[in-house]
């Protein structure tokens, strides 16, 4: 299902259809997060990605009126597509080979925090993640909040200035 959505993102001609395929993929990844006991990240994935980001994409598509069918038949650069397919397949082959060769590191357990057991309660994953973020990575957390503020202010400035010059 995830791969169907991912392929849908790159083969659908209509940008809205591509965005909806992206929703399918993001929900599938969220389900895999739940399956791997990352409950908080699954919730964040659904809210931030499938909620906010895709809605933002659809909003921009509708705002700009670019929701027309892209012509995928014509190739802009000659020979680009076979080369792109070849490069992607090579990348996947290299990654899979590395994964299979590196399989034996799974025999050595990590030395960090242990993931919660089932008897720790349903909130154990969230509690552990919060302890990690707010104790070990609290500086990075604050820097991230500054980054978000800068992004919002920069975007507002970007769109306002161009409208002022256009008028």
């Amino acid at each position: 299902m995830i791969l169907v959505g991912a392929v849908g993102v790159i083969v659908r001609k209509h940008p809205v259809h591509a965005a909806l395929s992206l929703v399918l993929t993001l929900f599938g990844v969220a389900v895999l997060f739940v399956a791997q006991e990352a409950h908080f990240l699954a919730a964040v994935q659904v809210i931030v990605y499938a909620g906010a980001i895709v809605v933002l994409f659809l909003f921009v598509i509708m705002l700009l009126g670019v929701d027309r069918v892209e012509n995928l038949r014509t190739e802009p650069l000659s020979g680009q597509r076979p080369l792109a397919v070849l490069a992607s397949l090579g990348l996947v082959a290299v990654l899979i080979t590395a994964i299979l060769r590196g399989n034996q590191i799974f025999n050595e357990r990590g030395t960090g925090l242990n993931l919660p057991d089932a008897q720790d309660g349903p909130d154990a994953n969230t509690v552990q993640l919060a302890e990690s973020i707010f104790s070990q990575y609290v500086v990075a957390f604050e820097v991230t909040s500054v980054l978000l503020v800068i992004a919002v202010v920069g975007t507002v400035l970007l769109t306002r200035r161009t409208r002022a010059t256009a008028e």
């Binding site: 993102v9 990240l41 994964i99 299979l100 960090g112 993640l129």
Partner: protein, 106 residues
């Protein structure tokens, strides 16, 4: 060399994330619409997140999930800035194709 077993182990998750990353790369290389290219970049980020979570579980380390959290926040900021740039470009142009954006002059 170990073979993949049929139960969903961490290797399956890693292979899935590699394939997702490859599809995202292919999309960025092939598609000409900047919006769809952004979606493919999101796809690649999700693939990396998936591999982080799989390794965090397999190695018993919560810090992988912490990094995934930060990646999500930075991706949200990146999408906001990128879509702002696309909107401001589209105010002056009618078509939206990455090949037309070769010049930086407005």
């Amino acid at each position: 060399m170990m073979a993949l077993s049929l139960v969903p182990t961490a290797s399956w998750y890693l292979v899935l994330s590699a394939v997702l990353f490859g599809i995202g790369t292919l999309g960025v290389l092939v598609r000409r619409n900047p919006l769809v290219m952004f979606m493919c970049i999101e796809l690649m980020l999700n693939a990396v997140n998936l591999s982080f979570v799989a390794l965090a579980r397999e190695l018993g380390d919560i810090n992988g999930q912490t990094i995934v959290f930060f990646v999500m926040v930075v991706a949200a900021a990146e999408v906001v800035v990128g879509l702002g740039i696309i909107v401001s470009i589209m105010r002056n142009r009618s078509t939206l194709t990455a090949d037309d954006l070769a010049g930086l002059k407005g």
